[in-house]
């Protein structure tokens, strides 16, 4: 094997607030021909910046301050623009996170495909088109003969992502940088894209850098894994060693997150009145029906996870419960009493009982209000406390969410980290002293370690305060960690529901099965096994089915 890419002590800086701030502080990277390196880290670790620097490219406002990037003996840091252009696209290619945004909307897919080969003089237009069709076929895109002649907006996200992989392959490069290519996709689509990327990279013996924040995904794709933390390298090892025996504390803690699981509670005693009962709810936005006959119960002190892919109606169900979207049919009952459909018709006490925690803590907290005021307002509004009593209650709430009151009371949300903001969101919900809280994807915008902290906090609060949670999520690891019961939704219907243990043991409804089996696991052989199990053709069919 010979070395293809050699990065030595590279330092990258980004410009903000009128000065240069470090993004990557001296990282080494070596990649052999045909090898796949997984680059993982949390948001802000500098993964993408490093990935682009490997191409000798920096975005506006970013610069390489020192270090070297050597691709096949060519110094990319000091190479002239013309030399770099002759390599980019031809020998080093790039696959971006959002294919929908990275394809030019004005040109057909195939026009963008043959642009590289024809401009770099690798193939003629006709050859490249024929080759493109072949690549589409290999990547199991439906209608490979025809799909390239469509415009990007006429093709679905998962298919576009594969078309972009084909485009990267067009000149048969030696190296491809994959920048989170499946992050924006649903789990069931993600698996199709992962499988086709892996296959084609293997077939042409292309080296790759695979950037992602998802450990399980990288475990399937990479020969070697490099972990980054805030611009520094934590450790590098080959995939199996890294998964079985990480040496650094940070890596170990990343691995441990996935093992968090709270003890299961005993099943509900028959005949108990549920705290919240959703009964045969139909809902629509305007004339577009969204929910069909949705029913489930949530009992005191228990967590019901509502699972499904985007567009399955999870959040709409929450909107019906809170009364923001009055259902077309069916009713919502609280402690056995039917609630008015519209929140404006509910009384103060009914509003108080059900609270909500949001996905994006950034938009859930008024940026112009201090933390103290954000939490104090519901206390004051519902209980009428003022002055010292109010302050004491707010301090107690801050204590409950494990933030030091004197330190945080006067701060603004913008001065807090993502996890801290989410805690403030929890405190605001608790301030109303509710019985029931809707958690809408509360951990999906957070890094794994922080997310785990939030989940543990929610579990602790549930035990202390006998809260009931409706936990909306698309992430099955979260479900496993916190749920007592699971409701699986698809296209606005409840596909299956039951106790968690029952849900995670077969037999399942076909969709639940697809959903469960599509969640990547930390086992590096998982994808291979799964593909064998499903049979390769099955995936192709699923892709056609998604058209």
């Amino acid at each position: 094997m010979s070395t293809l890419l050699k990065i030595r002590d590279i330092r990258l800086e980004g410009r903000s607030d009128e000065k240069w701030n470090p993004i990557i502080n001296g990282v080494d990277l070596t990649l052999q021909k045909g090898e796949v390196l997984g680059l993982i880290g949390e948001s802000g670790a500098g993964k993408s910046t490093l990935g682009l620097a490997a191409m000798g490219f920096t975005r506006d406002g970013v610069r390489i301050s020192s270090g070297s990037v050597e691709f096949d003996g060519i110094d990319l840091v000091n190479a002239s623009a013309a030399v770099k252009r002759s390599l980019l696209g031809k020998r080093i290619a790039y696959v971006a996170q959002s294919a929908a945004a990275s394809f030019n909307p004005a040109h057909r897919i195939i026009e963008q495909h043959f642009e590289g080969p024809t401009q770099h003089g690798v193939m003629s237009k006709a050859e490249s088109i024929a080759d493109g069709v072949e690549l589409y076929e290999k990547l199991r895109l439906p209608n490979p003969e025809e799909i390239g002649f469509r415009y990007p907006h006429q093709v679905s996200g998962g298919q576009l992502q594969r078309a972009m992989t084909a485009m990267a392959m067009a000149c048969r490069p030696d190296l491809i940088i994959f920048d989170e290519p499946t992050t924006a996709l649903d789990v069931t689509t993600q698996i199709e894209v992962l499988a086709s990327i892996r296959e084609i990279v293997e077939e042409y013996d292309t080296a790759a850098i695979y950037i992602t924040h998802d450990l399980a995904v990288v475990a399937q794709m990479a020969d070697q894994i490099k972990v980054l933390l805030k611009g520094d390298e934590v450790e590098t090892a080959d995939t199996r060693t890294m998964l079985s025996a990480p040496t650094q504390d940070y890596t170990k803690s990343l691995w441990a997150v996935r093992s968090f699981e709270r003890p299961t509670k005993p099943a509900v005693i028959g005949g108990a009145v549920p705290v919240v009962s959703v009964r045969n709810v139909d809902a629509a936005y305007g004339t577009v029906p969204v929910l069909h006959d949705v029913s489930f119960d949530i009992h005191e002190g228990r967590t019901v996870a509502v699972v499904g892919e985007s567009g399955s109606g999870k959040s709409t169900t929450a909107r019906c419960i809170t009364g923001l979207l009055p259902p077309k049919a069916g009713e919502i009952a609280f402690d056995g009493n039917v609630l008015p459909a519209d929140y404006r018709k509910r009384n103060k006490d009914q509003l108080r009982q059900a609270q909500m925690i949001y996905q994006m803590a950034d938009t859930a907290l008024n940026p112009r209000m201090s933390i103290g005021n954000i939490i104090a307002r519901p206390v004051q509004f519902y209980s009428g406390l003022t002055g010292k009593d109010l302050r004491a209650r707010v301090d107690k709430l801050l204590d409950q969410i494990e933030l030091e009151p004197s330190q945080y009371f006067n701060r603004l949300p913008s001065e807090l980290s993502g996890g801290q903001k989410q805690r403030i969101g929890i405190a605001r919900a608790l301030a109303a002293e509710p019985k029931f809280i809707i958690c809408d994807e509360v951990t999906s915008a957070l890094d794994q370690l922080v997310a785990e902290g939030i989940l543990r906090l929610l579990a602790k609060l549930q035990d202390e305060l006998k809260l009931s949670y409706m936990f909306i999520t698309h992430d099955l690891a979260t479900v496993r960690a916190i749920a007592d019961e699971v409701v699986v939704m698809k296209d606005g219907r409840v596909v299956e529901q039951g106790e968690k243990k029952a849900m995670f043991t077969p037999p399942h409804h076909a969709y639940t099965d697809l959903l469960l089996s599509s969640v990547p696991e930390m086992d590096p052989d998982w994808l291979t096994n799964l593909l064998q199990e499903r049979g390769v053709d099955n995936i192709g069919d699923a892709a056609v089915g998604k058209m």
């Binding site: 975005r59 252009r85 945004a101 909307p105 415009y151």
Partner: protein, 329 residues
């Protein structure tokens, strides 16, 4: 294509509807006057007889709705009524001065259109070119200087620009005439020469706006992931611009141009007054001063129609240049 056609037809109908409502607004605004035209024309000291004659002549004894529709149908037939000045002349002197508002407006409208055309021919290429340059070399010295200059030029009133230009190009260095006395049948070269100074003034004002908006549109575009993708595919800067940026920049640039031509409408009024250019803007201001309401009303309608038309054109062109709409799913 069916999809686009429907949208375009919808926009056209909407534009027409807006124009209709605008005509009602203008009509009502004018007819909300205390007393009525008759008194306004003849002044306080008019005899009741004379007032009655004029009222009958103008149909002021009819109900409001009838008057609106007869006014509207008049417009559609190209009859914009008779100006007060003419009416006064006729009632008081019994002359046959039957020159309708339309005959007053038509030649001036064509003069104004000529001025707007000359301005557009100068301003559009300069503004778009400079805007693209500023976007390509953003944050450079050129960009900063351009930013300050255009900001200053947008901030200055049109008459300030006009007088500065007169000072330098007509008084200190007598290159161009400061008065634009244009008449029918004037040789083309002379006509251009006489219109050049007002056209340059308008150019200064419009170019600044257009350039800033072009710059913003292009910068916005260059930040798109697909431009980065094109660069990462090793395409030359020229090709990135021509092949990847330009087809997508068309819609925003067209929009910018149309919006600024609409902006010209306001600028034209002041500039025509400064240079005594015999266009519709000057007629409008003169009529406002002598309160010749039928002329004011007609000019106002024409300005509004031009404004709506330009905005509509911008709208439709940007629909037509959007690949997502041209090639529906």
């Amino acid at each position: 294509m069916g999809n686009v056609l429907t949208i375009v037809v919808q926009r056209l109908l909407l534009g027409l509807l807006t124009l209709l409502v605008v005509s009602i607004v203008i009509f009502l605004a004018v007819n909300a006057l205390p007393g009525d035209f008759a008194e306004a024309i003849l002044g306080q000291g008019a005899t009741p007889d004379a007032i009655a004659t004029i009222r009958r002549d103008l149909g002021l004894d009819q109900p409001l709705v009838v008057r609106y529709f007869s006014w509207l149908s008049g417009i559609l037939r190209g009859d914009l009524g008779i100006s007060f000045a003419q009416l006064n002349f006729r009632t008081n002197l019994g002359g046959a001065g039957d020159v309708g508002v339309i005959d007053q407006i038509a030649p001036r409208l064509s003069n104004t259109l000529f001025l707007a055309l000359v301005t557009a021919m100068i301003a559009v290429p300069i503004a778009v070119a400079l805007g693209v340059l500023a976007a390509l070399f953003r944050n450079s010295v050129f960009d900063r200087v351009a930013n300050i200059t255009t900001l200053s030029s947008i901030s200055s009133p049109e008459f300030f620009m006009a007088y500065v230009l007169i000072l330098f190009l007509a008084v200190l260095n007598p290159i161009l005439p400061s008065l634009s006395n244009i008449y029918d049948g004037m040789p083309f070269a002379e006509r251009i020469e006489k219109s050049l100074l007002p056209a340059l003034t308008l150019t200064l004002v419009v170019t600044a706006h257009m350039m800033r908006m072009t710059r913003a549109a292009i910068i916005n575009l260059l930040a798109s992931p697909y431009i980065e993708m094109a660069r990462l595919k090793g395409m030359s800067p020229m090709r990135v611009i021509v092949k990847h940026a330009l087809p997508n920049a068309l819609a925003p640039i067209i929009n910018v141009i149309a919006l600024n031509l609409a902006y010209l409408i306001t600028g034209v009024v002041v500039v025509e007054v400064v240079f005594v250019y015999p266009g519709i803007g000057q007629l409008f201001v003169d009529s406002v001063k002598i309160r010749d309401i039928p002329v004011v009303q007609a000019c106002c309608l024409i300005f509004a129609a031009a404004y709506i038309l330009l905005n509509l054109t911008a709208d439709i062109l940007s629909i037509l240049s959007n690949p997502r709409l041209r090639h529906p799913k």
